[in-house]
């Protein structure tokens, strides 16, 4: 056996699942070496790193199929030694085809959302859902848009002509409505089988949510359940109101007897202001039966014994919790009944919105500071309760969690709604930008903003009156460089050269070295090259020139003219229309190019934010970012703008350029260097 020179991966064995079965002895030896000597990884060739990463990928999915926890631990420890291979990006998140120290959150995404050049490397371990690829994301990059991974599962749950039925069952408590789910045997069978597809992932807030879970979208199931509820509406009307439909976004939970309970909480109601919809009742569909202590508690109502296919409804104002069955798995679906409401039926509750913003923020912060989890949990509950009861007035001594952060020497305090900065440290535009970067956890270079900050949790009085003093002791040195600078955007777009019609495209690369006179390529004057360059510049300018914030590498540049500051408000001028954000929506975000060598990549956060409120208090700038207020929702994504340059060290055949034009591959070239054949 030749340990040091295992065969490099060939194209055919990169394809999953070809490589799953039977790792070669050489590959196993390689993994053993990495496990024995963590420093070895950095000394491996690119080919060997890829070989090892593919092997870790395959071992991971094999381990998922076995209950052997030791094997799982082994794979996890091995994954921690392997750095991410490839540069795929999905839904704005950097993703890896194998688990690594940073990219360890398993998700399933439509394979087509992965750029074609990376796609073959990603496993598709779900035999019934071969269109879904398994990706590993870095939890540090999550923001409120990407906390959850919503799977499109209509293909698994098709409704047949036979309807689902709900038979009312006697309830032990007036707050609970119980039904038995029947009818459509194929759909019931498909529901029961959901547990066996290997879709479970650990929740972000595992400490309070427990067990395994996955979230999915199933329109036909929603319609079938909606029809099944219709005969029971007269009985539910008092609690429910004007029923519209069952939310097509479901969560499937699986608890083993030893799993911690789903901690007591209040559900955050769904709201779609455009359609006048809110959710009012939570629906649980128990796919398995068993006994728990209790299996479900809703307020004062207890359910200890649950039969399979029992459906439980209760108003979302109730605090509730669930414990695992004493024996056997507890598997249930969770969704909600959505009703129509008129605008005058709702009361504007800005404090509840602020609390919800804090809860979202703290959830993201839990990745870095796990002790914030209980504050996030509390904030969600308080915000949810406020939807029905209003927010109770705070006791003066109430303590909240604040994140004290330092980003390149600038200290600030944040809780997801309020941001405080030293007024002497930053301009208002810089304050707004920092708040935006933090809220959306934007990626700078290859690192999420929050990972670039040092963070500590301050548990202090909720009124924040102590903050100016605390921050006053942490002011920057006035001689320090400004945190962000204005960029003359034109510097990114040097004008094209004049076309020389006689300039033919070279067929071969001309090598040169410093011993000989270097004749620079005149390729930049070739007509095809100039046209390509101009087209690429037009595309890049369309994104870059209107952008208020440019992210290049780990640097942040501002266009102050795109910030309008008025008394007490900062407006960040965006170019896209405002669209509501549905927390339970499924969205495919375009792939962001990252690795083009012939282009400098500029990330342009596409921000649609309501005006940011600010006030100056005690030497501080206090910003308030109520991104979720009223119907204000935020659309946020980062798009890359590849700033083109004509590369003269690498030449491409003229035929290739012509072909590129003919085949409309131009766009692809803009997206990724992989389409640039190097001669």
């Amino acid at each position: 056996m030749t340990i040091d020179t295992p065969a490099p991966p060939q194209p055919h064995n990169l394809e999953y699942p070809t490589a799953v079965k039977g790792l070669t002895p050489e590959t196993l030896c390689l993994l053993q070496q990495i496990a024995d000597d963590p420093l070895r990884w950095d000394r491996l060739s690119t080919e060997l790193q890829l070989t090892a990463a593919l092997a870790v990928r395959d071992l991971y999915f094999e381990a998922r199929q076995t209950p052997d926890e030791a094997q799982g631990r082994l794979v996890r420890s091995l994954a921690a030694l392997v750095s991410r291979q490839g540069r795929a990006v999905v839904q704005g998140l950097s993703v890896s085809f194998h688990p690594s120290g940073q990219h360890k959150a398993l998700r399933f995404v439509e394979a087509t959302a992965i750029a074609p050049q990376w796609r073959p490397l990603f496993a598709r371990p779900l035999t019934r859902l071969p269109h879904l690829a398994a990706v590993f994301a870095d939890p540090a990059e999550f923001n409120f848009r990407t906390f959850e991974n919503i799977l499109p599962l209509d293909a698994l749950l098709p409704a047949s002509k036979e309807a689902l039925t709900l038979t009312a069952l006697p309830s032990p408590h007036a707050d609970l409505f119980l039904f038995r789910l029947g009818g459509d045997p194929a759909l019931l069978e498909a529901l029961a089988a959901l547990d066996h597809h290997g879709l479970y992932v650990a929740p972000l807030n595992a400490a309070s949510r427990g067990g395994g879970r996955f979230i999915f979208h199933a329109a036909e199931l929603s319609q079938a359940l909606t029809k099944a509820f219709k005969p029971h509406l007269p009985d539910l009307e008092h609690e429910l109101g004007r029923f519209s439909h069952v939310n097509p976004v479901f969560r499937c939970n699986h608890f083993e007897p030893e799993d911690p309970p789903f901690a007591s909480h209040i559900d955050t109601p769904y709201r779609d202001p455009a359609r006048g919809h809110i959710s009012r009742m939570t629906m649980l569909v128990y796919l398995t039966g068993g006994q728990g202590d209790p299996a479900l508690r809703v307020g004062d109502a207890l359910l200890e014994d649950i039969e399979p296919m029992t459906v439980v409804l209760f108003h979302q104002k109730h605090e509730h919790e669930g414990r695992a069955y004493r024996s056997g798995p507890k598997v249930f679906l969770r969704s909600e009944l959505i009703v129509e409401v008129k605008a005058d039926e709702l009361v504007h509750a800005p404090d509840a919105g602020a609390l919800f913003a804090k809860a979202c923020y703290l959830t993201g912060e839990c990745v870095f500071e796990p002790e914030l989890s209980r504050y996030a949990h509390e904030a969600y509950d308080r915000a949810a309760a406020a939807r029905w009861h209003g927010l109770p007035s705070d006791a003066p001594s109430r303590v909240e969690a604040f994140s004290h952060k330092s980003f390149r020497g600038v200290h600030f305090v944040a809780n997801g709604y309020d941001f405080w900065f030293n007024a002497a440290d930053l301009s208002l535009e810089e304050c707004a930008t920092l708040a935006i970067l933090d809220t959306f956890n934007c990626t700078l270079g290859d690192k999420p903003f929050r990972a670039l900050c040092t963070t500590e949790v301050w548990e202090r009085p909720a009124d924040g009156a102590w903050i100016p003093i605390a921050l006053g002791n942490l002011a920057r040195d006035p001689d320090d460089e400004p945190l962000m600078v204005e960029l003359d955007k034109e510097v990114l777009f040097p004008p094209p050269e004049a076309v020389n019609p006689d300039e033919e495209f070279p067929e071969e690369l001309i090598y040169f070295d410093h011993d000989e006179l270097y004749f620079p390529a005149q390729v930049a004057r070739n007509k095809a090259v100039v046209e390509l360059y101009e087209a690429a510049q037009r595309e890049a300018k369309a994104r870059v020139l209107p952008a208020p914030i440019l992210l290049m590498g780990q640097e942040v540049f501002l266009d102050r003219e795109r910030f309008i500051i008025d008394e007490g408000t900062i407006q960040v001028i965006a170019t896209e229309p405002i669209q509501p954000l549905n927390f339970a929506s499924y969205e495919t975000v375009e792939v962001t190019p990252e690795d083009a060598i012939n282009y400098d990549t500029v990330d342009v956060p596409q921000l649609l934010v309501p005006p940011l409120l600010y006030r100056r208090v005690g030497g501080c700038i206090h910003l308030m970012l109520d991104f979720f207020r009223n119907t204000w929702m935020v659309k946020h994504r980062e798009v890359g703008a590849n700033v083109p340059r004509v590369e003269q060290a690498l030449w491409y055949s003229e035929e290739w350029f012509e072909e590129m034009y003919e085949d409309a591959l131009y766009d692809r070239m803009i997206e990724d260097e992989e389409y640039l054949p190097k001669i």
Partner: protein, 288 residues
């Protein structure tokens, strides 16, 4: 009356003095071309029509000198009033037959009534040392603000003729020498041309420049605001020289590709420069 004369007259009558724009000037040029072609006393008539407007435009508009006017210069038909309209000589093979271009250039350089020419653009024609010398000793050379000679292959000898001319001096703020096969003598010539002490824009991309230490330490180039060195193999040492230059702190735009400066070592040098302005430094830091 010649149709073109009528068009000029109508245009001028409909354009109040003081309300002229570049667009009306362009329209005027379009009318003038055939009118001048008609020759004869009509030219004088045109000038009579245009006189009041020309006086305004003289100060307000910088435009390339139309080709037919240049030809008129040679044939002694061109009125000096017209010449004063333009402050730019723009000679390219698109405007003039290639074989005629150097000759025309030298003829213009010898004229004594073109002192108002402040900008010269000659492109896409191979200029030998004699022609470059003729240009750099032109009567108007002392007042030139902008000299652009892209794609002219002037080479090291042409650069020498330019930089050693005592006439080109402090008034020159833009020097565009891209794609000129300038190589080894570059830094000696430009670094020693202390009379070029008003340069703000220096475009040198697409040459063979690989040594820039002397340039980076040329005190007379401390006025530079834009420096384009793309497609020159200056390598990491060149980047280090730029980064350590105490005279380039006023640069607002520095055009270089990472391949020009040898990749990461060059990037690191520029990103950590103690002198370059912080925007330039950060643009390079962004590439680290």
């Amino acid at each position: 009356m010649h149709k073109a004369f009528v068009e000029v007259r109508d245009l001028l009558l409909n354009t109040p003095i003081g309300a002229q724009t570049s667009a009306t000037f362009a329209a005027l040029c379009t009318c003038f071309e055939p009118a001048l072609g008609a020759g004869g006393s009509g030219v004088a008539t045109l000038i009579d029509y245009a006189h009041g407007h020309l006086a305004q435009w003289h100060q307000a508009i910088a435009r390339p000198l139309p080709l037919s006017w240049i030809e008129a210069v040679d044939s002694d038909h061109a009125p000096s009033e017209l010449l004063r309209l333009a402050n730019t000589l723009h000679l390219t093979p698109k405007l003039l037959p290639l074989e005629e271009l150097p000759k025309t250039l030298l003829a213009l350089c010898k004229r004594t009534d073109l002192a108002h020419i402040t900008q010269v653009v000659v492109a896409d024609v191979v200029l030998n040392k004699a022609w470059v010398a003729g240009l750099s000793h032109a009567f108007f050379a002392t007042t030139l603000h902008r000299l652009e000679l892209p794609y002219c292959e002037i080479g090291d000898s042409g650069l020498q003729a330019l930089t050693r001319s005592p006439k080109l001096g402090g008034a020159l703020h833009t020097l565009d020498l891209r794609y000129n096969r300038i190589g080894r003598s570059f830094q000696d010539e430009l670094a020693q041309a202390e009379h070029l002490n008003g340069l703000r824009i220096l475009r040198l991309h697409g040459n063979h420049v690989d040594q820039i230490e002397a340039l980076a330490n040329a005190t007379h180039l401390s006025t530079l605001e834009e420096l384009d060195l793309r497609y020159n193999p200056i390598g990491p040492f060149g980047a280090e020289a730029l980064a350590q230059s105490p005279y380039l702190g006023g640069l607002k735009r520095l055009y270089l590709h990472t391949t020009d400066i040898g990749g990461p070592p060059g990037i690191r040098a520029l990103a950590s420069s103690p002198h370059l302005n912080h925007t330039i430094r950060r643009l390079w830091r962004a590439r680290l």
